[in-house]
Amino acid sequence: MDFGAGFSLIDIRPLTPEITMICTGLILLLLDLVVKKKEAIAVLGIIGTIVAIFATYRLYAFNETRSIFLEMFALDGYANFFKIIFYINVILTICISFRYMKIEKASIGEYYALLMFATTGMMIMASAADLIVLYLGLELMALSTYILAGLMRKQRKSNEAALKYFFLGAFSSAFLLYGISLTFGLTGTTNIQDIAGLVSSLSIADNAIMHLAVVFLIVAFGFKIALVPFHMWAPDVYEGAPTSITAFMSVGPKAAGFAVLGRVLFEAFGDMQIMWSSILVPLSILTMAVGSIIALAQTNIKRMLAYSSVAHAGYILLGIIAGTTDGLISSVNYLMIYMFMNMGAFAIVIMLRSEGFQGEELEDYKGLAKTNPAAAALMLVFMFSLTGIPPTAGFIGKFYVIMEAINAGDMYLAITAVVFSVISAFFYLRVVMYMYMNDPKETVILTKSPSMTFALALTTVMVLVLGVFPSVLLNLVRSSIIS
């Protein structure tokens, strides 16, 4: 066997962003042993991410497609766009966790190193052109996030979160591997492009085993993006994990899950679109329904946002169900917007946490507008955006996915989405009502820091700017996906 052609040093250039992230993670891990000030490590983490952004931007324009390692690792606009989401996600997470981890007495250097490793895993998932590489990235992401969820070692809830996440994650990995092995058994390859060709040339698109394989893959990805009925872990894990990690998990792994769901379903099983759409339709309706309705009953804001994140997965799924490139564009567009509004909302939740004050109950938001008008106003923006009220970006995101559902002829899905949007308005706007129409029970002291201000400024500006000028983002998504 000749290894000469496939393995040359020039070929690893498309991996520069991933290598940068891994190196940053390793350096942070070693620095943690000698550096006492953990803030320095966090700053270094942000610098490493910025270098990786530069690598992604510099080496590969959005419309260039390449694949390396015997076609196992693809670098295209689709992967690059998701990588941008992951970079911003990790930078915002680091920004909002500076002070918070100190208050939780879990300020350790491993935290930042693990964030880097988890992000690398997501980047590998976004770029995976082979099911085995996809699995590799997924496990790197998942193992890092299990540990991150259990980082507050002294707290029972955090331990429970980590253990629950680990068991259900391992379970979903088994589903993924089963799906991959069935696909391999039928087609003899794990390469996503080759699978597509073989499904049509062997005409096995109607094969029952092939359908089973697709179902297993959807179940596995459904776990990661918390689709109902695979969402059971989400509320407990989101509540128990450190809040900054909850913010990280509700965006990063979800976006990575959608990245692989989109790539596998559209590229490998594009011929079976009618089949997988018909599976995703009931999942999407259930996800929107359960997410929106159970969130009504929550009194803990982290649990409420967990169910809200479940519901949002249902909306994002609408674009994928449509099965068209425009549908995929609307989903990716929604994910980007969702990241900004969700991160912003979690930033406010973290600000309420101070020494000796949990600040996780909805009651704690009573009268926030009187004591801290600025924070209340920002929370108002994020809650409006999560509900989908113009002129915030959340409206644009929902508008496009629902429009794609209508274009694809799924009128009933569009109506369902709107109905559950209205239901979700109740629990989002309840927070606003508590803040503006109730009197404060006790004076809430906000934990402020410059990095937190930066994160809030960025998310607020993006939510408002993307709400007013939606074409900026939409054109970027379009140009990167159609290439």
């Binding site: 039928l186 003899g188 080759d194």
Partner: protein
């Protein structure tokens, strides 16, 4: 070659599984039916190489063993990867060498980390 795999190729495997199951279950069932059953205290006691058993076999042991075992797995896997690399070394050449050194270096970082964290200290 991709595409040459069809499920019927695996039919012999299914037959082997079936026969294996039959042999396994069959001998157990046969023994159950044929053997005489005369239990008494000495016969029911656990086998301890002829010595009378002392205490419960399930006792608590230190969690430290678990950390050592976990670390062992990591470096064991490293050793397992070294074997095929060493066998194919002449074909892989310089690139393979650099690649393997990188792999060992990454594990070395982990080694330094667990060492400094005191995972190897028994006390």
């Amino acid at each position: 070659m991709p595409g040459s795999y069809i499920p019927t190729d695996y039919f012999p495997v299914a037959i082997v599984i079936l026969i294996a199951t039959l042999i396994g279950l069959g001998t157990l069932l046969l023994g159950l039916v044929v053997r005489p059953r005369r239990p008494y205290t000495q016969k029911l006691s656990p086998y301890e190489s002829g010595n009378p058993p002392v205490g419960e076999p399930r006792t608590e042991f230190s969690v430290k063993f678990y950390i050592i075992a976990m670390l062992f797995v990591v470096f064991d896997v490293e050793a397992v990867f070294l074997y095929p690399w060493a066998v194919a070394y002449d074909k892989l050449g310089m690139f393979g060498f650099v690649e393997m050194m990188l792999f060992i270096f990454i594990l070395l970082v982990g080694y330094v980390y667990v060492w400094k964290k005191g995972a190897f200290n028994w006390e």
